[in-house]
Amino acid sequence: MESRARGEMNTLASFYREREQAILGGGFILLLILIWQIVPALISLPRGIALFFTTPVEVIKSFYQLVVRNEIQSHVYTSAVEFVVGLGLAIVVGLPLGLVMGRSKILDAMLDPFVTAFNATPRLVFLPLLILWLGIGIWSKIMIVFVGALFPLLINTYEGVKNVDRVLVNVVRSFGASEWQTMKVVVLPNSVPYIVAGLRLAIGRALLGVVVGEFFGASRGLGFMIAGAATNYKVDVVFVGVTIFMGLSLALTHLVKRLEARLSRWRPDEVKTF
């Protein structure tokens, strides 16, 4: 009897040891959510704080309400359009520009001051200007997403091109490849992991652009919903918006990371850590 109990203990212990990382990591998040939920039951919050307080259950309830009343769909749709179009434009412009800058020394030297300056400055600083130029419609948000996502893509593509193996370039050149063929056969495949890493950063910047762009001068979108809810002290709605953004960001980042790992499986580690 005793030995059986000990055996069970042992299997439990080995079960824990094998999955320690997942149990501790997941357990901590669950614990935080649980504490968050039971705080108001344990201590009576002062009125001032209770106004800003909400619980996970409340957040889920209000999410359900928003979906049922068909309120949240149009916000999500607007934000998604801004995100996709802005990021798409950034890819269309950033990749070729990065390739050209990486291959041409003169263009590189001439564009470098601008790229450095704009990359160091958070592009959000141009938001008032973009709103002034493009109005509060969807285009000012698309443009802020675009300028936000452009530079990580451009710079990573550039780095990828710069880090191409000179020997390989010389080989295809010796065999009479044109600049375009060199690009297609050697440079582009070599920069793909860098470009994907840039895409991962760009997704973060693009989401930032969507959120902040919609805080100011917008009439639809998740960011607009969050800002409006905050002014009306609807904290649960704020958290619905924040949670959606968090989930989207995590899902997209995870997806790109998977892609990154897949693409750089055959590569030496130094590329992966970039």
């Binding site: 990382q21 001439m110 001051p113 704009f118 160091a120 924040v242």
Partner: protein
Amino acid sequence: MNSAERQRAMVFKRFYAEYQRLILGMVSVVGMMILWELAFTYVIPLNPFFFTKPSLIAEAFKQQIVSGSLWHDVAISSKAFLLGFGLAVVVGIPIGVFMGWRRRAEYTLDPFLTALYASPLVALAPLLIIIFGVGLTGKVALIFLLSVFPFIFNVFAGVKCTDRLLVNVVRSFGGREKDIYFKVILPSIMPYIVAGARIAIGRGIVGILVTEFYAASEGIGFAISRFGDTYRLPDMFAAIMVLMIVAVGLTEGLRKLETLLAPWKVGQEAR
């Protein structure tokens, strides 16, 4: 005569080859400014409510410096930035060290903090402003929240890369836990801290801009958005330029420091 000329040409050529990047960069920046100025002076009629040109920006810049309003706004924002950033350093580094040094701490904290780092926490800005008010506290809270994660994760990566041999040496010679922290870990994570700071600066500036665009009565972000609302474009561009100069100066300065401390690349961008 002829040979002297040729020599001069040679010297010039060598000079150009050496400073090609710098020269081309300056040429393109200056050329861009001149083109911008000329285009709106002679070719395109300037609509002052829609666009502006360098000469007007320079004038606005001069006026703002003379009147001191620019300094005031920059000082207000800097104060919030320094407080939030300082808090991020003070909180972020110990958490990073703890996570890097204790395996269970890593397992426990890593998924939670990674989730926060990867998500646009700036979405919490309206809530923070409503809780902490439009003054200094709200700004500091958001700046802290945005800039603490680069410190945590860079320090974490730094501790993970600490040389085990050095740790064992300290232990063999009877060093205490404290000695390991201050004699081995801290020196070896210095470049990582600088790399974290470089990434955190951009995020901190985002924090300033968002809180000041959203609700503020002074500060550089407020100045930019007010100039935009009142169609004072030259002033707006001047303020944007000031922010750009500060951001570039800080980022590039830290990048230099980073290569000085560790010539290999240590910086980790957002995960």
